[in-house]
């Protein structure tokens, strides 16, 4: 699936004309927005917290090597294994080899964007290993053969009728479109999987360098079961998600959860220190932590490093006017919405996502809600600028802007261009045939140039004394 502007536009138009999808996006994003808005008055000192968190995250990135090495030491001291994966291929290969060595056929998984990023499920399936997603939304998406459409609400694009249909097909029995029944079916099915699986795979919301603690934030408790029941646990950590001290979690969780769901705290916040210790009777006996780079280190220290402070709360998606119209899948990338429009083109995914920084009106609503104050409009403009610098902008556009800046950096040339536009306007089909604005005129009327410009009227009114 290519991701040039016309491809993006095509997918978007399909999403815009899908009325079921429009209702679903509207319902989900407005609910998440409302929940967030409702809790905000209770979050005293929110602005200071955002500032602190931003500083903490930038500090962590500046010392990322030290914190990651500290984390590695802690995990290894406990008897865990640490693998540094340079890219998606290395990470998936490690897991596949491990699973083969341990003769794992079925495994359980928590919802994790980083596993989506590296295409883990597909690679596993290709090697005869069957992962089962255990977050309800992610489970639905998996059964439907799709990808998640939102960072924290992966299946919101599906109606309960569609989910019932997917479940009925999968289980070979008619399941009614009732939320309770659907949940009951999923719970029963997944409980069995949890108990039987020899391996669990999780992502990680955070990992604490000081203690080697892994943090999972969920509302369904599936993170706890996945990380606790199977004898082998593999956790994949995006390398930017390390946190210096255990005490830092307070600040970050206080920002992440209200921003994501509008809750004060999620139902489950699991702090894990696998593997099982010598005097512990439960928990995984074997633990592998995969620290994933996959393009992150090339973002570090550069002009776009701020995006690595992202906590994946999804608040920017819910307020984005573009996301609210086109939904997640239209982006054609793992990460969507404003954070995805910045991150996806920067990560070493195989696809070129240069169209995504243009999928924004630069309205700034994202930066306003971001719990770590990522300056999204600046980053989006910066990405557009770097495309221009690398000669990736369409030639016609470069030409138009060169000509434009030559004309409009001089008052006489500017006035000349205005006269020219007015003279040629009727020949251009009143704007409809004018190449720069034809994208405009297909759905909106274009105002004609005024018969007399403001400066003409001004001079008429005030005399030409200064003109």
């Amino acid at each position: 699936m290519a991701n040039r502007i016309p491809d993006l536009l095509l997918r978007s138009e399909r999403a815009i004309s899908d009325s079921q999808l429009q209702r679903a996006i509207d319902f989900a994003t407005s609910r998440l927005r409302d929940h967030r808005a409702k809790i905000m008055p209770r979050m005293k000192g929110w602005e200071e917290m955002r500032e602190q968190a931003r500083e903490l995250r930038l500090h962590t990135l500046a010392h990322l090597d030290e914190y990651l090495e500290a984390l590695e030491r802690k995990v290894m001291q406990r008897g865990g294994h640490v693998f540094w994966a340079r890219d998606a291929g290395e990470a998936t290969q490690y897991i596949i080899e491990l699973a083969s060595r341990r003769r794992v056929r079925d495994l359980v998984k928590t919802k994790s964007m980083v596993t989506e990023e590296i295409g883990l499920n597909k690679s596993l399936e290709q090697n005869g290993i069957h992962p089962v997603e255990t977050d309800l939304g992610e489970y639905i998406v998996q059964l439907a053969g799709e990808t998640p459409s939102h960072l924290i609400a992966p299946a919101f694009h599906k109606s309960k009728e569609q989910v019932a249909e997917i479940f009925s097909r999968h289980f070979g029995t008619s399941i009614p479109a009732e939320v309770k029944t659907i949940m009951g079916v999923a719970r029963k099915e997944l409980r069995g999987k949890f108990l039987a699986a020899p391996m669990g795979i999780t992502g990680a919301n955070f990992a604490v360098a000081e203690t080697g603690t892994l943090v999972l934030v969920t509302n369904e408790g599936n993170g706890r079961l996945t990380s606790f029941l199977p004898p082998i646990l593999v956790s994949i950590l995006g390398m930017e998600k390390v946190v210096p001290r255990l005490a830092d979690l307070e600040l970050l969780l206080n920002l992440l959860v209200p921003s994501a769901t509008g809750q004060r705290l999620t139902t489950y916040v699991s702090l894990l220190s696998p593997p099982r210790g010598p005097h512990e009777t439960r928990g995984p006996q074997e633990f592998h932590l995969i620290i994933l780079d996959n393009g992150r280190s090339s973002i570090l220290g550069g002009p776009f490093a701020d995006i690595l402070t992202c906590l994946r709360c999804g608040a920017c998606l819910n307020v984005c006017p573009v996301y609210q119209k086109i939904g997640g899948h239209s982006y054609g990338a793992t990460y969507t919405g404003p954070m995805g429009a910045v991150l996806s083109p920067l990560l070493s995914e195989l696809k070129n996502h240069d169209s995504l920084p243009h999928a924004s009106t630069l309205c700034g609503a994202c930066a306003e809600v971001c719990p770590v104050k990522i300056p999204f409009p600046d980053l989006l403009i910066g990405l557009r600028q770097s495309q221009v610098r690398q000669g990736k902008a369409p030639f016609g556009q470069s030409l138009v802007f060169s000509l434009w800046s030559w004309l409009w950096s001089h008052s006489r040339r500017y006035a000349f261009s205005a006269r020219l536009a007015r003279a040629f306007w009727p020949l251009l089909g009143n704007g409809r045939k004018f190449p720069v604005v034809s994208g405009w005129a297909s759905g909106r009327d274009l105002p004609p140039p005024a018969p007399r410009t403001f400066r003409d009227l001004w001079h008429e009114r005030n005399g030409r004394s200064r003109g």
Binding site: Q324, K325, H358, C363, S405, G443, P447
Partner: protein, 262 residues
Amino acid sequence: MIHLPSGQNKARAEKVSLFVTCLVDLLFPEVGLAATRVLERLGVAVDFPPGQTCCGQPAYNSGFHRDAARVARHFIEVFENSGAIVAPSGSCACMVKEYYPKLFAGDPVWEGKARALSHRVFEFSQFLVDRLGVRDLGARYPGKVAYHDSCHLLRGLGVREQPRQLLRGVADLELVTLERSEQCCGFGGSFAVKLGSISEAIADEKIAHLERCGATTLTACDMGCLMHLRGRLSRRNKSIRTVHLAQILAGSNGVDRGETHG
């Protein structure tokens, strides 16, 4: 007794240079005339530096920063010796105020000039309320009016209440609450052309909100947003009028005398 707009004494001593913006100059001169009338009625001496063209934002937002800087340098030269600069656009004011210093960051000559200019730029409603202390301009505009917060004005310049305060001072005007007034209208400059159908879908949502609040007129402080929404409204044969805040404030008999497009 003749009703004198408040803040007029303060205004007597003011001199401003109008940065009318390219959009207003070329497409909507009536907005510039309305802004001038409002300011002059308050006793402000208005000057129009004739060399002005555009702030350069289209190129800046599209990533063509060399071209944006070329136009921005021209802007700085034209307005370098001006006092307060007033623009009937939150977006263009924000470009000069917030983005020029970024555009010229590290430039030994132009960064300083950009920063000096940055402090003197005001958006029209911001200037009236914050600088002149005006609330009531003695204007009259019968009808239900909805106000749309344009993004750069609201989030770039932090102007939220000023336009509403001015609208509340207008006789016969009923300011209705527009649902999600702070949501972008979908214009976004080149976005509206590059990704036109998404831009239209966002506009349609704004129009749905407008229709729900029963407004007969939509106003804002940016002709970019209004041009986009007006174009969509008229394409969809909707009768809601779109006028710039300055046009409402300039009208004294309910008729916006300057308006030519509708």
